[in-house]
């Protein structure tokens, strides 16, 4: 039994065997893929990625009703929870967001570099195809590690407008990427 599961099983001892079973299934089913996914956003920092996965699983355990969702929805939720944990961790670790640092040209020289660069160009093209309003809110929130409220202040528009534009912008981006075959 992995340490996370053992820890959780201990907590659950006096509660619900069914819940314990759900956590075990959850970890077996999603633990590995989640760790691989999270490592990409922790800059391949394995220790940090493992901590993020553990915290994600603990949160899932706290919201055990959500574990009764269908697997693809659980997966989407776990990805989202894990991403937020990484973002919060990055904010705590550094005053300056990582992506503001100049990109390393060497990054493109790793074995899968050309494929990754190609995929990145597809995403960049899709982003350029969006309306200025949609592209702007995606840049000023996610790509610069800012919250809706922070971006709203910078852009001088109400937070509700940022949130709304972000919604329609992301929907448009998803359609573009799906057409180009790089997003499901």
């Amino acid at each position: 039994m992995c340490p996370v599961l053992g820890h959780l099983a201990g907590k659950l001892e006096s509660t619900d065997a069914e819940a314990e079973h759900r956590i075990a299934v959850l970890y077996q089913e999603f633990g590995g893929p989640l760790l691989r996914h999270v490592r990409k956003s922790t800059g391949n920092d394995l220790q940090w990625a493992e901590d993020v996965v553990q915290e994600t699983i603990v949160r899932a355990w706290r919201h055990s009703a959500r574990l009764q969702w269908e697997p693809s929805l659980i997966w989407a939720w776990l990805l989202t929870v894990a991403r937020r944990i990484v973002i919060d961790g990055r904010r705590r670790k550094s005053v300056r967001p990582h992506e503001v640092e100049p990109p390393e040209v060497d990054m493109l020289a790793v074995p899968d570099g050309s494929e990754r660069a190609l995929s990145a160009m597809v995403v960049a093209d899709a982003l350029r195809s969006l309306s200025e309003e949609h592209r702007e809110v995606i840049e000023q929130t996610y790509l610069r590690d800012r919250t809706i409220n922070e971006a709203a202040e910078i852009l001088g528009i109400p937070p509700g407008t940022v949130k709304s534009r972000l919604y329609y912008g992301i929907r448009a981006l998803r359609v573009l990427l799906r057409d180009k075959g790089v997003a499901g």
């Binding site: 996914h37 990409k40 956003s41 919201h63 009703a65 959500r66 969702w69 693809s72 929805l73 997966w75 989407a76 939720w77 990805l79 989202t80 991403r83 937020r84 973002i87 992506e99 100049p102 990109p103 040209v105 990054m107 493109l108 570099g113 990754r116 660069a117 995929s119 990145a120 160009m121 995403v123 960049a124 982003l127 350029r128 200025e132 592209r135 995606i138 840049e139 929130t141 996610y142 790509l143 800012r146 919250t147 809706i148 409220n149 971006a151 949130k163 709304s164 972000l166 919604y167 912008g169 992301i170 929907r171 981006l173 998803r174 990427l177 790089v182 997003a183 499901g184």
Partner: protein
């Protein structure tokens, strides 16, 4: 409330709004479906960080105002 799903997926909601949206998500089939549709988008956007030209050469992609 439904429009918050994109901000939720991207992790850009404040803590308070995040909790509020998750409570909404528990009972909203539409947002659950959109969460699934959008869940991989942030990873795609992360790829831009490996593309120097996207961040530097194109004014609309950077701090242009």
């Amino acid at each position: 409330m439904h429009e918050g799903v994109a901000a939720y997926v991207l992790g850009v909601l404040d803590e308070e709004e995040l909790e509020e949206f998750e409570r909404h998500l528990d009972t909203c089939a539409r947002c659950q479906a959109e969460l699934q549709d959008m869940a991989e988008i942030p990873s795609r956007l992360d790829e831009l960080k490996h593309l120097p030209s996207a961040a530097e050469d194109d004014p609309p992609m950077s701090m242009s105002r």
